[in-house]
Amino acid sequence: MNPLIAKMRALGLRLLCAPRNDGEFQAELESHLAMHTEDGVRAGLSPEEARRQALIRLGGMEQTRQAYRERRTLPWSEALLQDVRFGVRMMARNRGFTVAAIATLAIGIGATATAFTWVDAVLLQPLSGVSEPNRLVTLETVTSNGDWVPNSYLDFIDFRDRLTLFDGIAVSHVSAFSVGKEDHAERVWGELVSGNFFSVLGVKAEQGRTFLPSESGDVPGAYPVAVISDRYWRSHYGADPSVVGKTIRINQHELTIVGVAAPEFHGSIPVTSFDVWVPYMEQTVLNGVKEWMLRDRHDRNMLGIARLRPGVTFEQARLELKTLADRMAIANANVSEGMSATLMPLWKSPHGPQGLLVGPLRVLMGVCVLVLLIVCANVANLLLARATVREKEFSARLALGAGRGRIARQVLTESLLLTGCGAVLGFAMTPWMSHALRLLMPPGPMSSLVSMDTRPNLVVLGFTAGLCVAAALIAGLVPALQVSRLNLSARLNAGGRSGTAGRTRNRLRSTLVASEVALALVALVGAGLFARGFQQTLRLNPGFDPDHVLLNQFYLSTNGYNLAQRKEFCRRLEERMLAAPGVTDVAYSDGVPLGFEPSWWEELKIEGYAPRPNENMNIFRNVVSPGYLPLMHIPLVEGRNFTTQDNEHAPAVMIVNEAFVRRFFAGRNPVGKKIHGWGGWFRVVGVAKDSKYHYLGESTPAYFYVPFRQVFREDMNLAFYVRTKGDPDSALSMLRTQARAIDPNVTVFDAAPLKEFIGASLYPQKIAASLMTVLGSIAVLLAAVGLYSVMAYSVAQRTQEIGVRMALGAQPAHVLRMVVRQGLVLTVAGLVAGGALAIALGRTVASVSFTNSGMGANARLLGNGANDPLIYVAAALFLCAVAAIASYLPARRAASVDPMQALRTE
């Protein structure tokens, strides 16, 4: 037997052994002694003497039994069991203390674990169901001014075929599909992916297969196949294995289901679940996208995911990619001048919900740790107070010979018991809290997609256990040290009358309270800053009027409409809606301002403007119907609006915003100037007032509008707006009826008031502000409780002293002032420390931008209020007030002390 295994075996036996079973050994010893005595008698000793000799040689019965016992079980595990039993008894006896400690710990640990669950899902393991995720990276194109944008299909082909340090590069494009027969079609979200998508991600099929290499080619429309998700398979096919080989009707085209993806796999965008994957080359068939668009390097709409070759470092791969991309930028200078490409970890990808979540999550995690620290300080305080009460018990145990280490361990075991209970409760709460966090997700078409595995996993479990131990150490260490330093003789001599032992402990508790106040100030200032930033942003004028507007997005391509049919549908629906009662304006466009979905741009050449080298001439745009600007109440400052005459046959026209005029025309009237985009020349006919396009907090970018009928293409979205006199929801049924009257197969999905829809742009700030407010309140409450307990305790300790003072003529008001002053001194000390910390943290957080995508890169979580002194002062004053109340209550008790009573105590 391997010695190590033998040792393990012994250890296991010792652990499992029942603590008490001495009978058998007693019998063995007796038999030993009997034999020894017999031998002694045989040698001529008297039986008594023989037995005495035998006992001497044995080295004493009790010692032998003790040595045997220690060997049979693990002494420390026995001691631990004792500690735990004793701890549970103590906890049961002090119910109030126990409940308070466990509840606060549960909140602290639960909140932190929840935050971590999200951090884990979004940042640490962004994609589930893929193999070796640590070798997967996001591949982004970089514009000449450093923004990250998706890739074009041609760029992808170059990357795929020429890079050597990668095991594969895949691309995907999010798409809404309409699945089923025309009359009962259902919208399903999926991804149009390169044929190698599954093999690059390392995703296996649960049924059937994924895409074959022969389906990874670049021939448009040649691969009519689809892979469906496990979720979709279960919900729509009852998990029937014969689904493989069946056809699925997507956008009125028949595709063959070749497989079902593994159940853990939800797609290539974190915290988002897709149900269908179709080769990208089917785009021409399914969405009517023209083949030339697939061959257009301008068409950058593909998210790239690459798998590094084993052993290749991120930096090597990035360098190879950059070198190639830089060469490509020169080779394709007409479309890609100054562009490059880069790699980043999956979680950094600016696309999809996690792009918005990263900033708030970091803040959330930080605040949760803050709250947990305050909780720990509180529990440490409670334990210290308890330790004082139990000083007699500890002294007695020390006097009876217990080691200091043993007593310190007892205190630590108790704090571990407390945090353990708190952790179990908190852990049980995480799924609920995770769910609550999901409710804060913005409304809109993407919200149904957001899914997170909120089932706690091993990583989260491990993290929670770690938190529990850390909290126990933080909360228990100080009291344990204090106990182990307990001075027996001083304690006995002092007899509980003097304050020498109490004073150091008081100082300790005061430090704890001051640090609690400091942490609470940080939390409060944080809450204030975020709330104020949010408010400031809310007050920002978006530059258009979202009230009374109903927004609906149509997916006409999913109905098999061609371009002309889509335009015709819009024209007819507009006509019909305008005739409906209560409707004042109707419009449609490609992009929705302040929406959750990406905005698109076009590279422009502007007559009379010489771009600086590397200047990014990709300008954001919207493709709008003539009714759009009037409906949005965006006024024109120069020129004219689009009209129905600006159609396919008329000369191309364009309206630019004021920022555009400032940037490219130096503020001079641009009407009549010529601008090149989409392969042709546009004439500027008007200037629209600036408004907000991507984020309320953005600094206004140059922006332009082009007529829907002139520019609308197969791959664009279609948003339909109806402005009503009253409640926009009232227009919904009308919209449904009218849409069905034109074509019964068109379904109205996701209609929502524009006002609600644009809330998406506020999402990161909203979540930060509301979470901070909740957690800030918890922090203040906890700090108040801590302050109160310390003040109450110190007053109780000083009852006698106060009695003496009052007997000597001190007025109750005087005593009151003295106690409150003491509390306020502590508070102010904490505030000073906390203020410094808050300022430092505020500066750091203020520099965090919550999005890193090409649009709205200037939007910040905090706005510009990070240094608002008012918030700091208000938070400090508020905490002072709380502290005054927390110390006034015990002070009043102290002032009402009857001197005689006080002197008689003890």
Binding site: M1, P3, A6, K7, R9, A10, L13, R14, F25, A27, E28, L29, S31, H32, A34, M35, H36, E38, D39, R57, L58, G59, G60, Q63, T64, A67, Y68, E70, R71, R72
Partner: protein
């Protein structure tokens, strides 16, 4: 006289195993006496320390125990080697021999000469 030696740390286990290998199943008292005899009464064994050592070996799976009757028909707990114990005796004995041999080279007079 001072001629008796305490049992060195860690050697008791080997002595027990080896003795059991030589004389077969034996109870604790018998083992103790036998070890003293084997040492030519040079070892002074504290009998009380033998039992934890036996327990340890049993926990490690090198020996097993059962109740039986001694020569004088007295009820006693007998210990015997297991297969793992046999292997362990060989292994530990070889190691011990090597150790003593190395040490003796240092201690031998004129080792350098």
């Amino acid at each position: 006289m001072g001629g008796k030696t305490d049992v060195w740390q860690g050697t008791l286990a080997l002595m027990v195993l080896k003795t059991l290998q030589v004389i077969g199943p034996q109870h604790g008292y018998g083992l103790a006496r036998r070890i003293e005899q084997t040492s030519g009464d040079l070892l002074e064994l504290n009998y009380g320390t033998l039992y934890p050592a036996l327990l340890k070996l049993e926990q490690e799976g090198y020996i097993r125990s059962r109740w039986g009757f001694s020569d004088n028909n007295r009820k006693a707990k007998f210990y015997e080697l297991t297969k793992a114990g046999e292997r362990q005796v060989r292994k530990a004995a070889a190691e011990w021999e090597q150790t003593t041999e190395i040490l003796s080279r240092f201690l031998a007079p004129n080792a350098e000469a």
